[in-house]
């Protein structure tokens, strides 16, 4: 089943990304060992010149990774028609043991790529490249992950056998299966609803606060708030938002909402949610560097903007979710 166009594209993207990162790795080691902005030596000049190339290269890899994560989910959903028993992406990912690990790793790499892009942006705005060593350390750390991602995707796509009877989302997200997903699905609607709106409202307020105030405390708070809101949002989608979309009291699947049968409503939820989470968490992480002399002005400005994006994203997400609940004919709470 490797000859599916989208699969070839995904493998091409993963392979080329890994190749580019590997090409960049000797340079990363050099930077970590020899970088000294105060020196005017020939080697330092060469490194400064090369860092343009490798920063652009890695930024490109990160952008591709963000797109690839989206394509991966999109493709899993489209492939579900080919497997007996699969009704949405869950079935297609469950065909063999590598599907879900590959998805989780794609999502983790998505956040890592967003963080790297944020650090790169802050670093290139400062005069003396204060974060350059950290950037390349992160790059070296990411190489095994990208390698693992390529391996998992290869195993997953090569192991797709059309005659496997896979399990549908109904069994995975049923409320009595012994998994984390079903624990979340089994949350009672009322506390879940309160937790969902409470946490998201807190994240929006904290992000907006940081957007106005630009301090360290508010920055960390916005970052943590974003993380909490991301977890609460996923739990909320599992526990009740999906029920309202399907107008069915027992169908908790977070993937079926991506299907054309439900007018692709899921993308309206997930795109703002992931953008907001990535922006908010990056803002929190960047606050660690606000005390560096050359970043004193750059970081607050940038994190405030990121927090603004997070606040808007979460607000949009909450509005979309509320609209879906409001339009639904299902009555879960009296």
């Amino acid at each position: 089943m490797i000859f599916q166009p989208a699969i070839i594209a995904l493998l091409l993207a993963a392979g080329l990304s890994l190749f580019m990162l590997l090409v960049a790795s000797p340079f990363a080691v050099q930077v970590i060992r020899h970088w000294d902005i105060a020196s005017g030596s020939e080697q330092q000049l060469k490194l400064e010149r090369l860092t343009y190339l490798f920063s652009t290269l890695v930024a490109f890899v990160c952008l591709v990774q963000i797109l690839a994560a989206l394509l991966f989910v999109f493709n899993a959903d489209k492939m579900s028609v080919m497997f007996v028993g699969a009704m949405c992406a869950v079935g297609a990912l469950n065909v063999n043991a590598y599907g879900f690990p590959a998805l989780y790793l794609q999502l983790a790499l998505f956040f890592l790529a967003a963080l790297w892009l944020a650090i790169n942006h802050a670093d290139s705005r400062a005069r003396d490249y204060p974060l350059v060593k950290l950037k390349y350390l992160l790059l070296l750390a990411a190489i095994p992950l990208f390698g693992l991602s390529l391996y998992l995707q290869l195993q997953y796509f090569l192991g797709l056998k059309a005659d496997v009877i896979t399990s549908c989302c109904g069994s995975m997200f049923s409320t009595d299966a012994p998994t984390l997903a079903s624990e979340m699905s089994a949350l009672a609607p009322q506390p879940a609803l309160l937790g969902f709106y409470g946490t998201i409202a807190a994240a929006v307020l904290l992000s907006a606060w940081h957007w106005r105030q630009r301090g360290d405390l508010s920055g960390y708070a916005a970052g943590l708030g974003s993380l909490a809101a991301f977890v609460a949002a996923i739990a909320g989608i599992l526990a009740f938002v999906s029920l309202y979309i399907y107008e069915h009291p027992n169908h908790h699947c977070p993937f079926c909402i991506l299907k054309p049968d439900y007018d692709y409503q899921g993308y309206w939820l997930y795109v703002p949610l992931f953008a907001a989470a990535a922006a908010g968490m990056s803002a929190g992480a960047l606050r660690c560097f606000s005390r560096r002399p050359s970043l004193v002005h750059v970081v607050p400005q940038f994190t405030a903007r990121l927090a603004g994006i997070a606040a808007l994203g979460y607000l949009l997400f909450a509005l979309v979710a509320s609209l879906m609940i409001w339009r639904s004919n299902l009555i879960l709470l009296d």
């Binding site: 089943m1 000859f3 166009p5 091409l12 080329l16 343009y52 190339l53 490109f60 028609v81 007996v84």
Partner: protein
């Protein structure tokens, strides 16, 4: 924010002017890029349209077709067989079908003869498909003779010709009265070719098939979903093979783009040198080059995609038809319904813009880090 937009706008302005200064070189690149997108998009659009068409055609077929096997080969359904199935919960309707193939040595093609249950046809009359009408030059009211497998000559009057819009399924069809069918093929009374069943609830289909296998061990139930899946994977596979073959073209294009970007003319080098001398930073030059790449990519992508769309849906994909469609003597003529798929556009974008960008990164950097001093002196 506004200053950022202003800055990008000026960069784009400058990039466009600089692209226009080197028309020949850039138009060449644009042409080849567009051609690549055109070829890939044609393949993708065409297979996707075929897939949707197959799905639409099969949507009207029975959920389960039951065949009887003797020594692993398809055999006739004997009398009493259908009753043996008995009542299975969920099956709305079951009926024996009568159909068979007939080889016409005049046009050297196979026809499908069928005795429909729901269509009233007089004895001695037939209704024919559009491809048959074309190949034998027939019209309603004409007579036609077929020599049956037993050697007798049977003459029929054509009562009607099936409409064009059903051609994909009815091209080679000949519909006749049940008694005519049995007489023509010497079909024994009470026997049928296979049994069609309709099941209302799609989730019941598999259970019905399992029950059928239990009660009739010599039968083979064929599910519509299985047929659909097979079609989908066949078309995907053909598309994938085409793309894999075309990957050589993508690679060649990558090398070509690299060469184009790397072979900076003396004039371009001087331009970059002057820009840096008047205060542009390396990052600015990279940004300008990035806009240049993006403008070329997007133009080529849209132009190629639109051209492919026209090629597939208005010119019937004349270039790839024979590879992707398959082949038959009485091939139906059909026009495909235009359809654009999001995943397909995203995939195509990965196949073209991604390799191009990857190929021009290093040359762009080389150009951007040129020393103003060396180029202006040289």
């Amino acid at each position: 924010m506004n200053t950022w937009i202003e800055k990008q706008r000026h960069l784009i302005d400058f990039t466009l002017a600089s692209l226009a200064r080197r028309k020949g070189k850039n138009l060449g690149l644009l042409f080849i890029y567009t051609l690549l997108v055109f070829v890939l998009a044609s393949v993708a659009l065409y297979t996707h349209a075929l897939r949707t068409e197959a799905q639409k055609v099969l949507a009207g077929t029975p959920e389960i077709v039951l065949q009887r096997l003797v020594a692993g080969r398809h055999d006739l359904i004997p009398p009493g067989y259908i009753e043996q199935i008995g009542r299975i919960r969920g099956v709305q309707k079951k009926e024996g079908r009568l159909w068979g193939y007939y080889y016409d040595s005049v046009v050297k093609a196979n026809y499908t003869f069928m005795a429909p249950r729901d269509l009233k046809i007089e004895r001695g009359e037939i209704i024919v498909g559009p491809a048959l009408e074309r190949s034998r030059g027939l019209a309603a009211g004409n007579g036609i003779s077929f020599r049956s497998y037993s050697g007798e000559l049977h003459t029929f009057i054509i009562a009607d010709v099936l409409p064009q819009n059903s051609e994909l399924v009815s091209a080679d069809l000949v519909l006749m009265h049940e008694a005519d069918f049995r007489a023509f093929f010497k079909y024994p009374e009470g026997h049928f070719t296979d049994v069609a069943m309709s099941v209302a609830n799609p989730q019941e289909i598999k259970n019905v098939a399992i029950k059928l296998m239990d009660s009739l061990p010599d039968s083979r139930p064929i599910l519509r979903d299985e047929v659909l899946r097979t079609y989908a994977s066949i078309f995907d596979w053909r598309e994938g093979i085409m793309l894999a073959l075309l990957s050589a073209a993508i690679l060649a294009f990558g090398i070509f783009a690299w060469e184009k970007a790397a072979g900076l003319s003396a004039e371009e080098k001087r331009e970059i040198g002057i820009l840096k001398a008047i205060g542009w930073e390396t990052g600015d030059v990279i940004k300008m080059k990035f806009w240049e790449g993006l403008l070329i990519s997007l133009t080529a992508f849209f132009a190629g995609y639109v051209a492919a769309y026209l090629h597939v849906f208005h010119f019937d994909a004349i270039l790839f038809e024979s590879v992707l469609k398959g082949w038959a003597v009485l091939y139906p003529r059909f026009t495909l319904p235009p359809h654009i798929d999001g995943l397909q556009v995203a995939t195509l974008f990965f196949f073209t813009v991604f390799p191009y960008t990857a190929a021009v990164l290093v040359p762009i950097w080389r150009a951007a880090t040129t020393d103003p001093d060396t180029v202006m002196r040289g």
